[in-house]
């Protein structure tokens, strides 16, 4: 167990990696490796911009860690902002990429505004979008995904393995919907806009879509 | 053979003909990779050379790349210069 020697945090700009000041180099490397492997669904297909904070690394260590990460993800840019320990910000205790379990009560990121074509929002907890998700936009969460608007892009809930996560939207019309490892697409030929909010979840090994409350279907 | 469309067209020069002519000129410039600045440079050199032989009116001096129709019906590019002369210098005049 590597404990909390390294903390990963996804932001709109990219990935922030906080390195604990007391950790030794070997455990830092293995923690980074562990987390990047676990976080794979978040980094697929995009160039990730890295920001290192916390314990400063020397040049050789910087090169090593970048090389290590390059084997698993595509790196857009890397900046090293580590500072010697002062009253450095302590990492959020809940920040680690285990399979997120807080889908009934857990940390949630709130996104205001529409997620547009080409944008990707990812977070290890739950995500609530107060806006639409347009075609080409992606929302990837370790927990639940709620869209207070129209979901027309891609949503991937339970991305780190939680099969109980749900995706719900006022208007559920995703191009692709995934929960944990299961994936589904909008049925062919269906142009009807849903008349009521819907929720999607895994029921007995099937990915189903239902009205948000039973009895609401017309 | 009467071209009915041309016969009934109200406009002397249909817009497509105007377009074709403009396009041909533009492409001469583009293909020759000749920036209009290039013409500026040529202009400068021509003024220098000709000024040895005659005094020219620089304001009215005009130079452009254009097309002209040859006898065989094909079009060729031509560099056309319009050089207003103020007066001849002695070098050019016949002496003795």
């Amino acid at each position: 167990m590597t404990g909390n020697s390294v903390v990963f945090k996804g932001t709109r700009k990219g990935l922030s990696i906080y390195i604990d000041h007391t950790a030794d180099w070997a455990s830092i490397k293995s923690a980074v490796l562990e987390k990047v492997v676990k976080g794979r669904p978040f980094f697929e297909g995009v160039f990730v911009n890295l920001t290192f904070t916390g314990k400063p690394l020397n040049e050789a260590e910087q090169q090593e860690i970048v090389a290590l990460l390059e084997e698993h993800i595509q790196i857009g840019s890397a900046e090293f902002l580590g500072k010697p320990e002062e009253a450095a910000e302590a990492p959020h205790p809940a920040d680690h990429f285990e399979s997120f379990t807080g889908i009934e009560e857990g940390m949630t990121r709130f996104i205001r505004g529409t997620v547009r074509n080409g944008q990707r929002i990812f977070y290890e907890g739950n995500i609530v979008v107060i806006g639409d998700v347009n075609p080409g936009g992606e929302v990837i969460a370790g927990g639940n995904i709620l869209v207070l608007g129209t979901l027309r892009g891609i949503a991937h809930a339970g991305a780190t393995g939680n099969k109980d996560a749900v995706v719900a939207a006022y208007c559920l019309q995703p191009t692709q919907l995934r929960i944990a490892g299961m994936i589904t697409r909008a049925p062919e030929g269906e142009n009807q806009r849903p008349q009521y909010p819907e929720i999607s979840y895994i029921k007995q090994d099937n990915l189903i879509i239902e009205p948000y409350l039973p009895g609401k279907a017309k | 053979m009467i071209d009915f469309f041309k016969f009934f067209s109200k406009e002397e020069n249909t817009s497509k003909d105007i377009a074709k002519e403009r396009l041909k000129l533009v492409l001469i410039h583009d293909r020759a990779n000749v920036s209009p600045k290039f013409l500026d440079m040529i202009k400068g050199d021509i003024i220098k050379v000709i000024s040895n032989y005659m005094e020219i009116e620089e304001k009215g001096f005009d130079i452009k790349l254009t097309r002209f129709e040859q006898d065989n019906g094909n079009y060729a590019s031509a560099l056309v210069a319009n050089i207003p002369i103020r007066k001849m210098k002695s070098i050019g005049k016949n002496n003795g």
Partner: protein, 269 residues
């Protein structure tokens, strides 16, 4: 102090250059001083659409490289008072200019003209970055087609990342007949997805092609509906409140007949 407005779309061929030329001309006709900037380096077109292709001596790249002065590069359109054009270079490419140079240029132009309209090239790379670098506001042009709207959405997201918020939308090439048949998205569908304010709607109009052939912007043709739409857009840019043109044709007898037999029911999306 003037306003620098970039006209962009993401997708190519939706009418950015035509829109820039026509809005610019219309603003000049309203008495404003306008400079049109062609930022499509390597594929210049604004000069041709304006009919000024034979007047080019220096271009944008010459200007930022210091080969010439502003007054030498900017072309005065002799037909319209207050209308000027800064053409793009044809024999260079988009890497010949850097965003910082565009910021400096726009600062200069802002001081001398009421409106600086920048015709943005298609795409999202260097050309786009250059075009938006010095802009105060953005106009997004799209047509009511799936691929164009998707690209517009992407562009709106990218504009936000460049601190250009609240761009305004122009829906171009609308065909009312197709909208009525349910074969073309209507304005509301487009706005619903893009979620930005509507600046104007320009109907599909053959006169646009004719005016491009002649190098005479459509706003000067009184029988052009698109020209009228562009003139209204110019007025809105100046702050006037102009209602949208009634593009709906009268319901024809055929429409009524089809309605009776339920044959033209609008498909829902």
């Amino acid at each position: 102090m003037g306003e620098v407005i970039v006209i962009t779309s993401g997708k190519g061929g939706v009418g950015k250059t035509t829109t820039t030329a026509n809005i610019g001309t219309a603003l000049a006709l309203e008495g404003k001083s306008v400079v049109l900037v062609d930022a499509d380096i390597g594929l210049r077109n604004l000069d041709v659409v304006m009919g000024l292709e034979n007047r080019i001596v220096y271009d944008l790249v010459d200007l930022v490289e210091g080969v010439c002065r502003l007054k030498q590069a900017v072309i005065k359109d002799k037909r319209f008072d207050g209308l000027f054009l800064l053409p793009a270079a044809q024999t260079r490419d988009k890497n010949a200019v850097k965003p910082e140079q565009m910021v400096k240029l726009c600062k200069q132009l802002r001081e001398q003209y009421d409106y600086v309209l920048i015709d943005c090239p298609a795409g999202i790379e260097q050309g786009f970055n250059n075009a938006v670098a010095g802009a105060d506001k953005a106009i997004v042009v799209t047509v009511p087609e799936v691929s164009a709207v998707r690209d517009a959405d992407r562009i709106i997201g990218l504009l936000a990342s460049k601190d250009l918020y609240n761009p305004q939308l122009i829906v171009n090439r609308l065909r009312i007949d197709m909208v009525k048949r349910g074969d073309m998205m209507n304005i509301d569908d487009t706005i619903d997805i893009l979620g930005i304010d509507l600046l104007g709607v320009v109907p599909d109009d053959e006169r646009i092609i004719v005016s491009s052939n002649r190098g005479e912007p459509a706003v000067t043709q009184c029988d052009s509906l698109a020209g009228k739409a562009y003139r209204n857009i110019a007025k809105r840019i100046m702050g006037e409140d102009v209602p949208l043109l009634p593009l709906e044709a009268e319901e024809t007898f055929m429409d009524k007949l089809l309605k009776i037999f339920n044959l033209n029911r609008k498909k829902s999306i």
